[in-house]
């Protein structure tokens, strides 16, 4: 299994990004019901692994960070979920 996606928050982030072109940081924190600091740390690991891309810009003169899933992240998610399902079926 993918070590990185064993964290429920990181798996949730990837699942949130799966159907979207991009999602803003605040929106991810709201959907996953996690604090900004906690989410930032998890996103940092996903970005570092190349699963997620980060884009910083300004909206109404305020900084906004957006995230999108990379193909690598998409493949890792599919493999990981498939292994989770195998584990459940094995019981």
């Amino acid at each position: 299994m993918d070590e990185l996606l064993l964290s429920k928050v990181r798996l949730g982030v990837v699942a949130e990004l799966l159907s979207y072109d991009w999602v803003a940081f605040a929106e991810l924190a709201r959907s996953l019901d996690v604090t900004g600091g906690n989410l930032g740390a998890h996103l940092g690991k996903l970005v570092e692994a190349g699963y997620v891309e980060e884009e910083k810009n300004f909206v109404n003169k305020r900084p906004q960070t957006r995230y999108r899933l990379t193909q690598r992240g998409r493949d890792a998610f599919a493999d990981h979920v498939s292994q989770l399902q195998s584990l459940i079926k094995a019981l």
Partner: protein, 191 residues
Amino acid sequence: MQRIDATEARDHIEMVDRILAESHQRLCTGGEYFIVWGVISAYVTILADTVGHRGLPASALWTVPVVLLAGALFSIVRGRLTRSVLKRSSLLQREFFNVLWLTLGMAFVADVAVFNIFAGLASAAVWSVAEAIVLLYIGMHGNRRAQIAGVLVVVSLIVANFAHPFAAYILAAGMLVGYAGFGVSELLARD
């Protein structure tokens, strides 16, 4: 090395299923664009017909590039503003914009660069076809109003084909009722 048991695995899968089920895939179409481009295409169609057949001086055609430019500027500015306030954008939305710009872009090329082939009413009909494709694409993703609007534009094309003296007016009516009308209905639904 971190491990996970079957109970946790089920918990994770349930969370993923819930997130995917909640990721709404509705197309955010933006009613304003449809109103602006429906009115512009109808205006250009009627103006060209009036100049060609009803004695309006050709000098009146100078307004065509002006309204087209105004429409393009509005679309660019509105698009940038909309994008800046969105908190997320779906893959389906991106696909929709690809279809929108490809279809309307090709219609624009047909009108501006292939006017010897698509002369007169043919250019208006090309716009109607492009508008019908955009509306029916939105309709394919579950928007009933877009389905009805798309059918209205297609019907206007067919009726115009058999009522040639009034073809420009019928095509323009399709653009106004179908395309611009869909934009109005989207704005009303949003409010």
